[in-house]
């Protein structure tokens, strides 16, 4: 147990440092915080601490990788007791709002330099599924929308060893307006691990 704790501490402190080795492919898994913008902020304005991101990248040219990026974030906000009109109907109560976001991207990264710390920039294109619920009492208004999605991204990888590193990045999901819902913005701040395979 003590050894595990020490190793965990060393991991957190970034003690494992080795020289950078070019990877043929990498898989990452990250914890994600979401900061809402535009239409998402209008519905749930509270920052989300519930999310994760998975990504697979394959090197196709020196410093260039392409792959897929899948993520999930849930935004939640309790609105105070208040009245909401729906046509001639009025509903009054506490409102509980949820947005479950599932962005799915094909993306590319460009690595800037080599070494232990490797910054990169990226761009993704794809779709985002938004499952939105507005709960009052035991009733819920549920909305499902698929958005066209463009996501610029920047971050860096801190290589802990030849086959593993820490990854920190910021990705802005710009989900376009649909026929039923306004555009949504979500700034994802993610931290996690990346595993390289050769």
């Amino acid at each position: 147990m003590k050894k595990t704790l020490i190793l965990t501490f060393m991991l957190a402190a970034g003690v494992f440092i080795s020289s950078f080795v070019s990877a043929q492919s990498s898989t990452s898994f990250q914890y994600t915080i979401g900061i809402p913008f535009s239409g998402l902020k209008d519905h749930t304005s509270v920052i989300s601490g519930r999310g994760f991101t998975m990504e697979y990248q394959r090197e196709v040219a020196p410093s260039v990788t392409v792959g897929i990026n899948l993520a999930y974030s849930v935004f939640y906000e309790k609105k105070p007791y208040g009245s909401y009109d729906l046509g001639s109907a009025t509903l009054t109560g506490n409102q509980y709002r949820y947005n479950n976001l599932f962005p799915m991207l094909v993306n590319a990264h460009y690595k800037i330099g080599e070494g232990t710390v490797v910054p990169y920039v990226g761009l993704g294109i794809g779709t985002m599924y938004d499952l939105r619920n507005t709960d009052m009492g035991l009733y819920t208004i549920e909305e499902n929308n698929w958005h066209f999605l463009i996501s610029p991204e920047a971050g860096f990888i801190y290589n802990l060893s030849a086959d593993m590193g820490l990854k920190l990045n910021a990705k802005y999901d710009n989900a376009f307006k649909t026929s039923e819902l306004d555009a949504l913005g979500n700034l994802n701040i993610s931290v996690g691990f990346v595993w390289n395979t050769y």
Partner: protein, 207 residues
């Protein structure tokens, strides 16, 4: 390195177990006041209303033909008094059913999980006898079709506005969702808040 990979995966697995947002934690947080009305109806010309002295329970037994049961006292009287007071504050006059009221109020408490109450107007006759037509009532606006247990539903009907198929026109409805669930100690404050809110959000009733 293998241990490092296991540790990193364990840390991420821990993060994934962080729970989904909690939502409501107490019965009163689920309280919901719903109201709807007929925008075509001219409330301004209507002055009098009748209100029964009991609140019937909509139960499975009632739906299958059993005798009606009623909300026990003093809860029923408290709710009826609040409804009556709010109507009077808005300028309405309470009269007996025999005095040809402009509108009738039909309160009911739902004790089944869900029921298609809006089509179930049969209990209406127990109070209003020959003053209601055999066809029941109809909604000129979209009506909620099911309610949760413990809800108070009050329907306002114009007995003088009868359709060709002998149905009376519903002109206003309010529902206090789940008010008869939860702790007895908080019942009075919740029901007072709910009924007062139903009138606050129905300003079109005001004279």
């Amino acid at each position: 390195m293998k241990l490092l990979k296991i540790l990193s995966l364990a840390a991420l697995a821990f993060l994934l177990t962080q729970c989904y947002p909690e939502g409501p934690m107490a019965a009163d947080e689920l309280d919901l006041v719903y109201s709807n009305y007929d925008p075509e109806y001219n409330f301004a010309t209507k002055m009098s209303f009748a209100l029964p002295d009991k609140i019937v329970k909509i139960t499975d037994g009632l739906l299958t033909g059993d005798d009606p049961t009623y909300v026990k006292e003093p809860y029923a009287s408290d709710m009826l008094r609040l409804i009556s007071e709010n109507m009077k504050i808005y300028g309405w006059q309470q009269v007996d059913i025999a005095d040809d009221p402009d509108v009738l109020l039909a309160p009911a408490a739902v004790e089944v999980t869900t029921t298609y109450y809006y089509d179930y107007w049969g209990y209406y006759g127990w109070w209003y006898g020959g003053y209601y037509p055999p066809g029941g009532w109809y909604y000129p606006y979209p009506a909620s079709s099911s309610y949760t247990t413990g809800s108070l539903i009050v329907t306002m009907v114009d007995p003088n506005d009868v359709s060709v198929d002998d149905k009376q026109r519903v002109v206003w409805t309010f529902i206090i969702n789940g008010i008869m669930t939860g702790q007895t100690s908080s019942f009075n404050s919740r029901v007072t808040k709910g009924i007062n809110q139903a009138f606050t959000q129905s300003q079109y009733l005001k004279k």
